[in-house]
């Protein structure tokens, strides 16, 4: 059997190379986020957001942008018989789960590198909150990536796959969103970032990530069987 880290690196590299060449997900996600911020700017008729409103706008936008990327995650595998290629290889199939989730985290991080500064530009008065926000973003990305990969891998083999991902994913990420906005809300208050229950929310995020990473790793083998 091929060692898992070799297989992991191979699949991740292949995915990143493919994405860089086709740019099918990243620009769409970034563009969507920026456009949504603009819509919020005019829809709410505000140039400054604070607290829960700011947190809500940020997370809702990031989530919907993420769904775009999640939808496309396994398309290459499905269309080009890629699942077969992975299944024929002497590897632990859960590695596919890990590699795809890692790729998704990278896409989400890239998205946030573009979207969050623009969000700050449009809506925030100070950038003091952005530092601690990074930790929230990272933990939330991890959870989103893990659950997104799991759902995407099932949806890709079904009909109406573009609908299935948002349908099933959204309820599943509610606790994630609650924790993420719970942590973000005090950070974005006008007058300086607050850390009310910050540690607790980060722990909830961490717990969510851990549980779903374990569940995903454990069941992924069954998903690839036939």
């Amino acid at each position: 059997m091929t060692p898992s880290r070799v297989a992991f690196a191979a699949i991740l590299a292949k995915d990143l190379r493919s994405e860089l060449r086709t740019l099918q997900s990243l620009p769409a996600m970034a563009l969507f986020a920026v456009t949504t911020f603009i819509i919020f700017r005019f829809g709410l008729d505000r140039t400054s957001l604070s607290g829960s409103l700011a947190s809500g706008v940020l997370w809702a936008t990031l989530l919907f942008a993420a769904v775009l990327g999640i939808n496309r995650l396994f398309v290459a595998e499905r269309e080009e018989g890629g699942f077969d290629a992975i299944r024929l290889a002497p590897i632990d199939r859960s590695v596919l789960f890990a590699a795809k989730a890692a790729a998704l985290i990278i896409y989400l991080a890239a998205l946030e590198l573009v979207a969050v500064p623009i969000f700050a530009l449009f809506f925030l008065d100070s950038v003091a909150a952005l530092g601690p926000l990074v930790s929230v973003l990272l933990l939330a990305d991890l959870g989103l990536a893990v659950v997104g990969t799991l759902i995407s891998s099932m949806a890709v083999n079904s009909r109406a796959r573009d609908l299935l991902v948002p349908l099933v994913l959204l309820p599943l990420v509610v606790p994630l969103m609650i924790a993420a906005s719970g942590a973000t809300e005090p950070l974005l208050v006008v007058g300086g970032p607050g850390y009310h229950r910050f540690g607790t929310w980060l722990m909830v995020l961490g717990l969510y990530d851990l549980i779903f990473a374990l569940v995903g790793w454990a069941v992924f083998d069954f998903l690839l069987e036939d």
Partner: protein
Amino acid sequence: MLRGAGRRYGERAALRDVSLELEAGQTLVVFGPNGAGKTTLLRMLATLLRPHAGKVRVLGSELPDDGYAVRGRIGFLGHDALLYRELSGRENLRFHARLHGIAGEGAGARIERLLVAAGMDRRGDDRVADLSAGMRQRLAVCRCVLHEPELLLLDEPDSNLDAEGREAARELIGPGSGHSRVVVTHDPERFLPEADQVLRLGIGEVAAVS
């Protein structure tokens, strides 16, 4: 290697009670009408499908439980070339090499040798999406022998290949190439001369063995 194997799709039995046995180095040709279950049989041997009935042993390992032990020793050539369209031929082969645990210098040399043998060395850096079906098939042939398998499972190996391509295929996956082979085809005349054993499938069932 197969005894009484069966496989159902919903209510329809795609394969029923198929039995066969193959010795090392031999070639088995499987043919039959469309829908007879030839591809299903091949995929079952490749560990891609689980048998719903009967016993399947490939290279000494019982499927499906011990499938993982066998995967590195089988080369599968199916309907899909299993190549990623956005990557080049070389990148695809390198990816498959890494998945099979072959890396570094040895892999690079092996890939080059295969590309030359298949006549694809000059087009090796073109995107797979830009290649014709025949060229993709040649790359697929390289892919399936890249990890030096003992057993080849070939579904219509000559499809889309021109004369030159068929020559290359003969060299890499033909009867003299040193592999045990199971060849599934619509065109038995073409492969009959190479066959040590023949299996004709009716609709999912064995019609004749020799």
